[in-house]
Subunit: 247 residues, 2 copies
């Protein structure tokens, strides 16, 4: 793990890093007070590790809970090398979005391909992050959209992840993996999603074997997740990662 | 409106009152700071206006938001006069619970009867409460179980109610009324409710015409609503009744 850049603002230390070929970013309390839990954030499709929804939530988790937060660029994203699948699938997906065709089959197929590549990268990144002395305690995962397509198999694969926020994704390819997950889950669904059938989102929530799981379904379309869900995720991780919310 | 008793503890002033024959209780900030919004709480079946889930939430709304909170005993409850319907239905319901028969048809029928009597009582109570100088601003309603059976027709009938928390009830008799409600709704559903079919709860949530509505579905049985839903209701009313949450 190599740190490549560092800035600090509003009580948050932001450090860019690489693990192998994978570029990442680690947000931490500017004034560390001993080892603290870590939340991993998986960004959405077509975005990158510092996209506003990622950076915004990271700042909340750091400033309100004192957690560390890490994000990495997904395979094929943000200038990373693209495979034949990336070259083939991205234009197909963009065309479907432009013409109003159903995007579900394409997004699911392509995101499953990305997840296969992304899970080992996350595992290596987590190994490296856990060697830092300032990181200690349980790990959480937050990711909607493609962040769920990657996060469900990651959470099933890594027992260090003790709580996760997922949502805004189809059930088809994830149900069998979700059935192996038992950690607390908060699941976000848009009630009027124009891409994901309501029943599909409900079926994915239903599949998790977790004794504690909560569905937050909000009126609105695919991209209209209300801002107050970010606050809810703060409280969810504060409950499950063992630090009290400070604000 | 007559105040009949008054106590104060932990920053909360508690005043018993009657409006006509209806006994009620009003919780208020012990140190008033000008007119503040009001939240009405409808208690569950077989309970009363000071049942622990009512009093507990009332204290949260008062101490964290500075709101006033009122509850009244439902018709046929807490020593109030019982009608022929009360005398007939309560033993039928208790027997169904004891023998494991489906309770839905009985609870729905009986709660619809109670709601017809309760709504005019709430309207009179709200008229009386609004004459108090310390009460001013929008009104909220909170009620699960029988509190929803009463609260849905009440909210549809009274435009003073600007936001409501409902849940844990069947859709059958409430859907048509819910379709007339447009204020923000938070709706609580138990994913593994042994009495209320999941589809029935989802259908009731779906019926509300509100542009802003959120479903909170939690793993667990009928009576296992998690305690953190009380905190969520605090934030919901803080967002919609115009006072910032103070803690």
């Amino acid at each position: 793990m190599h740190f490549t850049a560092q800035t600090s603002a509003n009580g948050v230390l932001e450090r860019d890093f690489t693990v192998g070929e994978v570029p990442g970013v680690l947000w931490s309390p500017a004034e560390g007070a001993g080892p603290a839990p870590l939340v991993l954030i998986g960004h959405g499709g077509g975005r990158d590790k510092k996209a506003p929804p990622v950076a915004g939530r990271a700042h909340l988790f750091v400033t309100r809970c004192g957690f560390h937060v890490a994000a990495i660029d997904a395979p094929g994203h943000a200038g990373r090398p693209r495979t034949a699948a990336d070259e083939r699938e991205v234009p197909v997906m963009q065309q479907a979005m432009a013409t109003g065709e159903p995007v579900g089959p394409i997004v699911r197929r392509y995101n499953a391909d990305i997840a296969e590549r992304a899970v080992p990268e996350w595992l290596e990144t987590l190994d490296a992050l856990e060697e830092l002395p300032e990181i200690g305690g349980p790990v959480g995962y937050f990711g909607l959209n493609m962040g769920t397509a990657i996060g469900v198999p990651l959470t099933a694969a890594d027992p260090r992840i003790k709580a996760a926020v997922f949502g805004i994704f189809w059930h088809d390819d994830l149900v069998d993996t979700a059935k192996r997950i038992t950690v607390p889950i908060e699941f976000v669904l848009q009630w009027d999603d124009q891409h994901i059938p309501r029943e599909s989102g409900l079926a994915l929530f239903d599949a998790f074997a977790s004794a504690e799981k909560t569905l937050h379904a909000n009126a609105g379309k695919h991209k209209e997740v209300p801002r107050f869900e970010a606050d809810s995720a703060v409280r969810f991780f504060a409950r499950h990662l063992g630090k009290a919310e400070t604000v």
